[in-house]
């Protein structure tokens, strides 16, 4: 439709995502794509533009490891019913690919990737901290009850009084396939599901879940579909005692402390995540602070 120029007709890949299409186009004498073109529906343009300007503003003032850690936007073009975003191709390999080649030593690569991404995430979240949201004690008790029906011996102890949690900007789809390692530096792709204000820690938990899922594939079903299949992974990396879960807990604690979250705030966040995954996941898979949860908690 917009590739009317015959030269561009040569090499490209059309890749369908949930609500956009990505073109990887290849030009002369280059084995890697020269750029990406993302095609969105025109109705999403305003929201996208707002997100992009916000992100650029945040990234402008950043230092390592956040500096230059999102792909550059080259152009934003209107094309009738569609809106095109031309993006620089970052190169490098995603963590998902790297993990694929290192199945034997996967725990080693997992440790390395987890510390890199949690470092990046802590940096980004610190940069975008906003006012706190107060979650009343009775709502926490409610969450606790709900979760106990899935996990008979609750692994978190939650103090029964109000908890204030700072809001941060969330990536929303922070999975290994969206994180590129380029010369040891992290570049984060796919900002379609970014929310200006969401809850901290949820991005990190998503990363861990996806990583463990891609390695073990305990059940054929997608980890999001059934509570049982989700819980199998959760047991593996958090609930059960093992070197893996000890390492994961360590990282989560490090992340929480670097954001200044106390123990019980961290536990409440864990509860919220479990509730999201077990009860309202299908409705709002990517949101870090889904509407359903917002109505329930605040």
């Amino acid at each position: 439709m917009f590739f009317t120029d015959d030269n561009k007709m040569n090499g490209y890949i059309l890749h369908k995502n949930k609500d956009r299409i990505t073109f990887f186009s290849f030009q002369e004498n280059n084995n890697e794509p020269s750029s990406l073109v993302k095609v969105y529906d025109q109705s999403r343009k305003a929201l996208l533009q707002e997100k992009l300007t916000f992100l650029q503003q945040v990234m402008l003032t950043c230092e390592e490891p956040l500096k230059d850690s999102i792909p550059k936007i080259l152009d934003l073009v209107d094309a009738g019913r569609y809106c095109l975003i031309f993006e620089e191709y970052t190169g490098g390999s995603t963590m998902a690919e790297l993990a694929q080649h290192k199945h034997l030593f996967w725990q080693k690569s997992f440790t390395a990737h987890l510390s890199l991404s949690s470092e990046w995430l802590a940096g980004f979240h610190k940069k975008t901290v906003q006012a706190s949201v107060v979650i009343p004690a009775d709502k926490i008790a409610f969450l606790f009850d709900k979760i106990s029906s899935f996990i008979p011996k609750p692994f978190v102890s939650v103090a029964h009084n109000d908890v204030a949690i700072p809001l941060v900007s969330c990536h929303g789809d922070f999975r290994p396939a969206n994180i590129v390692l380029k010369k040891g530096k992290v570049v984060v792709l796919d900002w379609d599901n970014m929310r200006r204000s969401g809850l901290p820690l949820l991005d990190l938990l998503e990363f861990i879940l996806r990583y463990v899922h891609s390695r073990f594939r305990l059940q054929k079903k997608d980890v999001y579909l059934l509570p049982e299949s989700f819980l199998a992974y959760f047991n593996l990396f958090y609930a059960r005692e093992s070197t893996l879960s000890a390492m994961v807990k360590d990282k989560i604690n490090w992340y929480a402390s670097s954001l200044g979250l106390a123990e019980r705030e961290k536990n409440v966040l864990l509860l919220i995540w479990l509730y999201k995954m077990l009860y309202i996941n299908e409705k709002d898979k990517f949101a870090c602070f889904p509407e359903g949860l917002r109505e329930l908690l605040v």
Binding site: F2, F3, D6, G11, I13, H15, F26, N30, Q100
Partner: protein, 353 residues
């Protein structure tokens, strides 16, 4: 109401322009006339064979229900419980997303041959100026017509007819679609040699396309790696049948299912030769993955770099078998051969000058 008021048909037999009377079309050159049934024009010259996943009786039942309760409701009742993936398949308009690879303007005229449930036609008629949904099966066309009415798509024209007798004048369309249709042409047309039937259909298509128009042809690959691995052929249900020489496949088919093997698919080279013979040039090959019915990716397989990048970055093996296949395809120079063994082809071709 006559929905074909502003449309000019040509006689399917002698190709002279047709006179549009109130509810019929007549050819002054050969004195034939074609009538309308339930508001849909029927240009079938002979009684064509029927092809469809479901029998004609089931289709009739569906249409009756659709007239009463709406087409969505009828589909839901029929398929949601028994065949949910097929239900989604019929409703999924993103199956037409391949149109992004065709350099068309918004005022393009499109011919969707063998439109089936009309999903592609509906999706494209939301974007382009005029779409003709064409099928041999009157019941399917009726279903498309119901879909058209409920969605208010006045630029979508359902037409019933035969692929070898296209009722359109020369050089009329900017794009013709054969999405999973060419392999069924011999079965529906009957009679002549399958290859000749397919070639004839392509030649007919060539006639109605403009000079700089496009043909989009989506079809299975004869040398698909799935065939080599012994998966059942999706058309005949016979393992290895497409790979065998045609005569042998015919004997095999007669023995196994008591009828001829007419569902011909072709290899990369055979496609090039057939399309060239039918009067097409500038042939470009793509591979829709995992299948042209519902794809997530379309890779231009004529370009090694695209194939290599795709195999390296966009495929994740889901089991050991896939991991082995992928390692094989990625290794050494095998990615250069990948284009011959992909499961399906999407082919873009333009008429020869």
């Amino acid at each position: 109401m006559n929905i074909y008021r502003d449309f000019e048909f040509a006689c399917p037999v002698c190709k002279a322009p047709l006179q549009n009377a109130d509810f019929s079309f007549s050819c002054l050159a050969c004195n034939r006339s074609w009538g309308m049934k339930k508001g849909i024009v029927d240009f079938c010259v002979e009684k064509p064979g029927y092809w469809g996943e479901y029998s004609q009786e089931v289709m009739q039942e569906m249409i009756l229900r659709a007239q009463q309760a709406g087409w969505q409701e009828a589909l839901k009742e029929k398929f949601l419980k028994t065949d949910p993936s097929y239900y989604e398949y019929i409703l999924d308009e993103s199956r037409a997303d391949w149109h992004f690879i065709v350099p068309l303007k918004d005022d393009a005229r499109i011919l969707d041959l063998g439109c089936g449930w009309g999903t592609l036609s509906v999706a494209l008629s939301r974007i382009y100026k005029e779409v003709v949904a064409f099928d041999t099966s009157a019941s399917r066309i009726e279903f498309v017509s119901l879909r058209r009415q409920s969605e208010n798509l006045s630029n979508l024209l359902p037409v019933c007819g035969q692929i070898n007798h296209l009722p359109f004048s020369e050089a009329y369309f900017d794009l013709a679609i054969l999405n999973g249709v060419l392999e069924w042409v011999p079965t529906v047309e009957g009679g002549i040699d399958p290859y000749q039937a397919q070639l004839g259909a392509l030649k007919q298509l060539r006639r109605v396309l403009k000079k700089d128009a496009f043909l989009y042809l989506a079809i299975e690959n004869r040398w698909s790696f799935l065939n080599f691995l012994g998966y059942k052929d999706t058309h005949s249900g016979l393992r290895f049948a497409p790979l065998l020489p045609r005569r042998l496949a015919n004997m095999y088919s007669r023995r196994m299912r008591k009828r001829d093997f007419r569902e011909y698919t072709y290899t990369y080279g055979e496609h090039v030769r057939m399309l060239t013979k039918a009067g097409f040039s500038r042939i470009r090959f793509f591979s829709p993955i995992p299948s042209y019915r519902r794809f997530h990716n379309i890779v231009s397989i004529d370009d090694d770099r695209a194939v290599r990048f795709f195999l390296k970055n966009l495929v994740m093996p889901r089991n050991t078998m896939q991991a082995w296949l992928l390692a094989f395809a990625r290794a050494f120079f095998f990615y250069k051969l990948v284009k011959y063994f992909v499961p399906d082809f999407s082919i873009l071709a333009q008429p020869k000058d």
